[in-house]
Symmetry: C2
Subunit: 112 residues, 2 copies
DNA sequence: GCGATCGTCAACCAGATGGTTGAATATGGG
DNA sequence: CCCATATTCAACCATCTGGTTGACGATCGC
């Protein structure tokens, strides 16, 4: 997996990771707090965060015991630009985004 | 893999598949013609096209012996909307898109 | 009808992915 | 110093992925 877009899209292909990104939209979070709402182990979430960090979608900074996770929205720009080339570029619609976020957050993320 | 966005992003995570989409931007193509520029087998390309079709990114219509592949850019809209929520991205820049396409097309897609 | 062309299917393989558990490494608090 | 907290590491496992090859079913041209 050499092209940066490979890593970006692969990272976005997992619902747990997309959920994490949505959570980080609100505010920076510690790893443990990121993991709290999920049913999987902390180690699994740690791996997911590693994937997101490798893709440049988040950054992580350790302060004391706590590793803080921060959204890096710039990493989405290349992917966004790539995708936009394929459609009729309607203006960005944040209301639609809110709807999708709600859909994501209300749909079962782990296993029903 | 249940959420539609899973399939969309997973399909986009492969450079061969992104290349195919770029090719279909130009015009509809038969499976054999899609496969021509790649070094992998026809069966492999057939699988890639299946993945793209499952994700709704292309449609396929068989006319006679030939199966025509058509880009379905609408399928990118949900993914695009989802992504756009993460940043204030500058207005869509088609020149930038061209640059990325060129990068994709000039960078080795199979194995250097 | 026959042979060539178009495309998929099936079986197989190596390697990546997503999860688990248990041990290990810091760091902070009292 | 000791214990609890925060996070990762290592080993392991099942499943998915992306590729191969060879056989197969359709369809076209003649």
């Amino acid at each position: 997996m050499t092209h940066p877009l490979d890593a970006t899209f692969a990272a976005l292909a997992d619902p747990t990771r997309r959920m994490i990104l949505s959570m980080l939209l609100e505010d920076d979070m510690a790893v443990t707090d990121v993991a709290a709402p999920f049913e999987m182990s902390l180690a699994a979430i740690s791996k997911h965060l590693h994937v997101l960090a490798e893709a440049g979608l988040i950054s992580q900074e350790k302060r004391g015991r706590v590793k803080w996770c921060k959204l890096e929205p710039d990493a989405l720009r290349e992917a966004s630009v790539w995708m936009q080339g394929f459609g009729q570029f309607e203006p960005v619609n944040l209301d639609a985004f809110e709807r999708f976020l709600v859909m994501e957050l209300t749909s079962p993320d782990t296993d029903p």
